[in-house]
């Protein structure tokens, strides 16, 4: 190896240390950047020829390693749409021109058009649940649309299911002639107990259902449902445009004499056909069929008591807030307290996350080395879970960076010393000729 070779090697050493300092400066500059992944300068030696008698070193070369799979610590924020991934994977985002990237920067907030956009201007992508279950594919970005939370400004859900559990007093007196049963729907109709349920029709208008429970004999009761809107002075007869109503639902309930539990239900409107007690069909006027679960009804020697009375559905209401679950389901919480899922937010991962190409704005691009992105549900298949209202901090540790800087500085100094010595040797050589 000649003197020039030594000079060359020391110059490459200085260049390498400069590269390291440049990586450190980038890290320190981003020590407070959300979702930033530390970059590390790694060195490899360069040898042009070497044998037993001679060595021809060509110096050192620098490789940058992006430590993209290192988990950052979490900081909590007050914004629901701020997300952090706990574990493997990246958010799928797109820029204004529609190109998709991966990022760990989950500082998403609603922009002027309702899209969830992070501080670097990238829009979060997700699967819309507007038409039911998401239709994403694991190995492609098909079906991904920008997560837009303004389109769900007003929503309603017609009632489809509910539960009514009451205890009917076994000690009650059965309704007998001349009083008529509620099924007859006449002014003389008498009942034992009554409750009512607020349900919602297709347009989200509240429909109050009057539910009459009438003892007809030992262990048998009649359950009749009428639309309260048709009531005459709040009671019988129920008429619509002068015509007496047929009950919306009418069931004969038979109770077990030993346990007091509901044994069976027979549909009076359908020739006494047996009905499953877990789903009594009630056709809500202008609405869906409410499958009312009454299997918890009992007939005991106790006063009439309601133990459960719930129905789903909600009136048209605006979104009051958003909530995002660890599995990536973004739900709108309506002002009446009901929740409706709007989007599934997937996370994507690649076989080699550290090989992703970094691009300005904390985003990464998939390349041939990283392998293709696989999309999945947070928390499943080795993917991380989503933390709502929190952000992933930069993985840069200031102390490590500063210590590395000291070693880079001394490395640079040593290289410059070698260069200086080489120069002195060359000068000595030149002086020999004089």
């Amino acid at each position: 190896m000649g003197l020039y070779g030594a000079l060359q090697a020391s110059v490459s050493g200085m260049a390498a240390q400069s590269n390291k300092v440049s990586a450190i400066s980038q890290n320190i500059a981003n020590s407070n950047t959300t979702g930033y992944k530390e970059v590390e300068a790694q060195f490899a030696d360069l040898v042009s020829s070497a044998d037993q008698s001679s060595f021809n070193g060509a110096g050192v070369t620098t490789n940058y390693a992006y430590l993209n799979s290192v988990q950052g610590s979490f900081t909590t924020t007050g914004t629901t749409t701020n997300l952090a991934i706990n574990g493997n994977g990246f958010f799928v985002v797109q820029n204004s021109s529609g190109a998709q990237f991966l990022t760990r920067d989950g500082d998403f907030t609603q922009d002027s058009s309702g899209n969830l956009t992070n501080d670097a201007g990238y829009t979060l992508m997700g699967y819309s649940l507007a038409a039911g279950a998401a239709s994403g594919v694991a190995n492609g970005s098909a079906g991904l649309v920008p997560v837009n939370v303004s389109s769900s400004a007003l929503s309603k859900n017609p009632t489809t299911a509910g539960t009514l559990s009451v205890n009917l007093p076994s000690t009650a007196t059965a309704v007998a002639a001349p009083a008529a049963l509620p099924f007859a729907n006449t002014a003389a109709s008498a009942f034992t107990d009554k409750t009512s349920l607020v349900t919602y029709d297709n347009l989200g208008a509240p429909v109050t259902l009057d539910v009459y429970m009438t003892k007809t004999g030992t262990g048998t009761w009649e359950l009749d449902v009428y639309n309260k809107a048709d009531a005459t002075n709040g009671g019988f007869p129920y008429t619509n445009g002068g015509t007496p109503d047929t009950p919306i639902a009418s069931q004969t309930l038979t109770f077990d004499p030993t346990t007091g539990d509901l044994a069976s239900a027979a549909d009076n409107l359908n020739g006494g056909a047996a009905t499953p007690t877990s789903a009594i069909p009630i056709a809500i006027p202008n609405g869906q069929t409410l499958n009312l679960n009454i299997s918890g009804m009992t007939q005991l020697a106790a006063a009439y008591t309601t133990t459960t009375a719930t129905v789903n559905g909600n009136p048209p209401s605006g979104v009051s807030s958003l909530s995002i679950g660890p599995d990536g389901t973004l739900s709108a919480v309506y002002s009446d307290g009901t929740e409706a899922p709007l989007f599934d937010i997937p996370i994507a991962n690649v076989p080699s996350p550290d090989s992703l190409t970094p691009i300005t704005g904390n985003v990464f691009q998939v390349n041939s080395e990283s392998g293709n992105a696989v999309y999945g549900t947070p928390g499943k298949g080795g993917l991380g879970t989503l933390n709502s209202s929190s952000l992933e901090a930069s993985t840069v540790d200031l102390a490590t960076q500063l210590t590395d800087m000291i070693s880079a500085q001394s490395g640079y100094e040593a290289n410059s010393k070698v260069f200086q010595t080489g120069t002195t040797l060359l000068e000595d050589l030149v002086n020999i000729i004089k």
Partner: protein
Amino acid sequence: MSLATAANIAQSGLNAVTAQTAVLTRNVSNANNSTGASTKTANVTTTTGGGAQIISITRAQNLTLFENVLNATSSSATQTAISAGLDQLEQTVGATSDATDAQSPSTLLTSFTNALQSYESSPSDTSLAGSAVSAAQSLAQSLNSATTTVQGVREQADSDIAQSVSQINSLLQQFQTVNTQITNGTATGADVTDALDNRDAILKQLSQQIGVTTVSGSNNSMNIYTDSGVTLFQGTARTVTFDPTTAYTAGTTGNAVTVDGVPITGSSTTMGIQSGAIAGYVNLRDNIAVTYQNQLDSIAGALISATGETDQSGSGGAEQPGLFTTAGATSMPASTVGLAGAIEVNASVNPSQGGNALLLRDGGISDTANSNYTYNTTGDASYAGRIDQILTNLSAATTFSSSGGIGTSGTLSDYATNSLSWLQGQRSSVSAASTYQSTLLSQATTALSSSTGVNIDTQMSQMLNLENSYQASAKLISTINSMFTALMSTMGVTS
């Protein structure tokens, strides 16, 4: 783990302590809140990175004790409502404070009988006749004023019901707002503890008016039913309706209160409420006052029938009301309903109305122009036959209507005494029940308050703990800072 992470964790510790202190401050400032603020607790959990985080704020609650308070409130309100009405009813028999019964029909009946007996011994004495008539008049007036009071109590109860109903409707509207706040807040994970306290306070106010039971649903939502099971609130507030009756006379029937289209008061309902002020008012209006009025009417009816005059000429004229009559009556009353309010002394025998008191001795009070009803046909000044007959009638066993609830046969004087003791019995039993219920209420409230209320001692000791942990976290931050400073000075950076 880096120094920055350590600083981050120490910072999260500070934040957590700050939030806990804020909750503690809320507790302490509400320690004397009479609406029953519960103790709030900030629940701290470890975050993924190892820091501390307030995950939720919850409140101490005890559903069983709260239900006890609601039940006790309702029962106590019922007794208070009845008790207030009975106090007024008792004024019909005299001052309630010294328990005299000077104005009671029973006492005045005795005075009247005594006056008649004195007159019987000297039938020619006009002044004794005048005293007897005046005693009769006092008796009639006492029955009149008692009726006015009883009907006044019913009118008052009716208007109290109307007021209760409007309050229930307004409370249900408030409940709806708070309930929505709670379900919404619970769904989004917001702190709803104050709203829950607020809802409990509304429920307590509601239970004053009407007995309620509650059923919880998803997201902390709540349904309210009356203690008889009628829906008051489920999703939306149901309407409670009541059509007030402004003027009451004996025989007037008040309207029923309906909830969600179902009558909850009245004899025909199958879902009648048991407790709450409304139950008390209705009991007063429809039972107690009505029964007492029936007793008064029976007394008035017995007086009229004991002093009725029969045709003495043998021409078969119908019996006519004599000393005691009702305005313009020419025949004996067919029913006793309302007699106590209308009874008066016949003007023809009343000197203050230009009548002749001596007619008491002679008869013919009912129709002075018709001599057929004159008993003393000869004009004998010492004739005592008619007075004697009235006295006999008054002391004879007679039959009373069962609607008075105090027996159907006996002498008028016994009946009047029974009526008095019935009223006093009602009052003392209601007063005992009222004391009992209010003791129960205060015990239930104390139990709830010691179970869920704010205990200053606990809060203060917690404050010391928080202070210590804040100091520790702050010390950590300052240590981390000096470590950084050491590193920086190694690098030649001076700060």
